[in-house]
């Protein structure tokens, strides 16, 4: 055990910056008058940008930290950028939302930053204990965020469901981790991989541990059959929180799945592959089919988020099946998550604006004729939905393209076919909202007030990102490939 050095702290710089900023916001909150709460939002935004700068600077010091429990590598760095982006967009989208809904408290920003800190720790962790701590920091903050509109019964219900099912799943994950520790004597992913790949070292009960851990992580990324909470929570939670929930904890949990199941436990091959394959199939099909019947936009986007998790799992199954050439599959997953983050956060924060005070107007029908009153807002929502359904020239298209290509290269023809069919079905429900906005006359009940500027800035940023990824994906793919390299 090497003593802790200054270098160790540099390697967790983004997390330190985020956590300090969160503490600062929380301590300063009682001294800031209610009219100036927005100042705390800007402090938090500066914190997020500073964490991003720290992440960029840290690149020169990559390597393991704190006795190998954290790794500062391109993989972690990629995910930290992604999580910070999701946090920044959510923050921009929530400033006016919180004012309109009269829940403008500084704690919101502190919890958002802490949630991001936890997720950042998860993606950098190379030790099961560290993964657990990161997971809980991010989960506990998001449990509270989901219930942030305390006076609203739907928000109460959403956060209670999220909390109960979330801690139930964490308990499963922990039980699995305890078994992994008991069977191998270590919780470090590198040592774990060495111990398991030694000939004849395969412990007999490892499959139980694997399944338990997969259940716990599968809950966080809402794979079928552990998705039941997702639509309820996404609908009931405040919409900007849903934007954050649907991206940050999910991307972090995907990063953990990549690190644990394709890195540390890689030698337990066939079982992991089939777990990924089956959950990819179920998640895609059930997510898309259930979305067809939804009339509530938040719920529709929730099922769409489930379906997207299914496509990501296709990429993971491809990476697993490709064996030593797993790089392509992993890179496709990383690209997909970046595109997904841009589209989903933007869609949910726009829905937060449309739903108005108290989130009364969440139905697709509430948008009837919106294109005639607010052509800009309608066009923006249309572009986001079109990108989510994977039309060419948008990020959604190349995200799906790379995942499907990786799957075909790994000879998963059947799974790819199902995935393609699913993305065709998905077009129907996305376009239903578009049809309501453009093709039907009537007065929209949805809020027709002009977009507040922070929200406008967030939307502009994500649309630029979506079209950049959709038109010039190559530089970004190179980045994803670089990030995928340190894994197996």
């Amino acid at each position: 055990m090497t003593p802790v050095q200054a270098l160790d702290f540099i390697r967790v710089l983004p997390e330190i910056v985020l956590a300090s900023c969160a503490i600062l916001v929380m301590v300063a909150e009682p001294f800031v008058s209610a009219r100036h709460t927005a100042a705390l939002a800007w402090v938090s935004l500066i914190g997020i940008v500073a964490a991003g700068a720290g992440n960029a600077w840290m690149r020169r010091f990559s390597g393991p930290a704190f006795g190998g429990s954290i790794a500062a590598d391109p993989f972690a760095s990629y995910f930290v950028y992604l999580l910070l982006l999701a946090a920044a967009l959510t923050l921009l989208g929530s400033v006016r939302y919180l004012e309109t809904n009269q829940v403008h408290h500084g704690e919101f920003y502190a919890l958002l930053l802490l949630g991001t800190t936890g997720a950042c720790l998860m993606v950098a962790a190379t030790e099961l204990i560290m993964i657990f701590i990161g997971l809980e920091i991010s989960s506990i903050s998001t449990y509270i965020l989901a219930g942030f509109r305390r006076a609203d019964k739907r928000s109460n219900e959403a956060c209670l469901k999220y909390f109960l099912l979330g801690s139930f799943a964490t308990a499963f994950l922990l039980y699995g981790i305890a078994f992994i520790y008991g069977l191998t004597g270590t919780t470090n992913l590198v040592q774990l991989s060495e111990k398991l790949s030694a000939p004849g070292a395969r412990p007999p009960l490892l499959w139980i541990a694997l399944i338990l851990a997969f259940v716990g992580l599968g809950f966080k990324v809402s794979t079928v059959p552990f998705h039941i909470w997702t639509p309820d929570v996404y609908q009931g939670a405040p919409a900007p929180v849903t934007a954050f929930l649907s991206v940050a904890p999910k991307a972090a949990a995907f990063a953990v799945i990549l690190r644990v199941f394709l890195g540390g436990l890689a030698s337990a091959g066939a079982l992991v592959f089939w777990l990924l394959w089956i959950s990819a199939l179920l998640t895609m099909c059930l997510g898309n089919l259930a979305a067809l019947w939804q009339t509530n936009i938040k719920r529709l986007l929730a099922y769409s988020a489930i379906a997207h998790a299914g496509y990501v799992l296709v990429g993971m199954a491809a990476a697993k099946a490709a064996g030593p050439e797993a790089g392509e599959g992993i890179a496709s997953v990383l690209f997909y998550l970046a595109a997904y983050a841009l589209m989903n956060v933007a869609a949910f924060i726009l829905v937060a604006h449309l739903a108005g005070a108290g989130e009364r107007y969440q139905e697709a029908d509430d948008c009837t004729g919106l294109a005639y009153q607010r052509p800009g807002v309608a066009a923006c929502l249309t572009l986001l939905l079109v990108s989510l359904s994977g039309f060419p020239a948008t990020a959604g298209f190349f995200a799906k393209f790379y995942v499907f290509r990786a799957a075909i290269h790994a000879h998963l023809i059947g799974l790819t076919l199902v995935a393609v069919l699913n993305s065709v079905v998905a077009v129907y429900y996305y376009l239903r909202v578009v049809v309501a906005m453009y093709m039907r006359e009537g007065n929209p009940r949805a809020s027709a007030s002009p977009l507040p500027w922070p929200l406008g800035a967030a939307l502009a940023l994500s649309l630029v990102g979506i079209f950049y990824l959709g038109l010039f994906p190559t530089p970004f793919v190179r980045l994803a490939n670089l990030a995928a390299s340190p894994l197996p």
Binding site: A151, F163, Y175, Y181
Partner: protein, 101 residues
């Protein structure tokens, strides 16, 4: 006389089962929360037993983290239940049914 490790594991498995059954069958939210705590304690028993088996301290450190986490979860969970009770006056999971399909 020392107790062999698999006895601890059997106890852990028993607690885990009680916890899972409790979460799945009970309707009172507070009892569900207690059942989750039972599962976490099953994890702790396993961790400490393994730690003794390997003569290493890792498992005990992990168990302390789990205990801390369980405390945080209980604090948050009870807070959330109070927030719900103020609005709905119920802690019965079957009556928490605004969000469906």
């Amino acid at each position: 006389m020392t107790i062999p490790p698999h006895w601890y594991l059997a106890l852990g498995t028993g607690l885990f089962t009680v916890g899972v059954v409790g979460v799945l069958t009970r309707r009172n939210v507070i009892v569900i929360l207690m059942s989750i705590e039972l599962i976490l304690n099953a994890v702790n028993i396993n961790l400490v037993a393994f730690s003794r088996m390997f003569h290493s301290v890792d498992g005990q450190v992990f168990a302390i983290f789990v205990i801390t986490d369980a405390a945080a979860e209980a604090a948050i969970g009870l807070g959330l239940i109070i927030a719900l009770f103020r609005n709905k006056e119920t802690v019965n999971a079957d009556e928490i049914d605004l969000l469906k399909w």
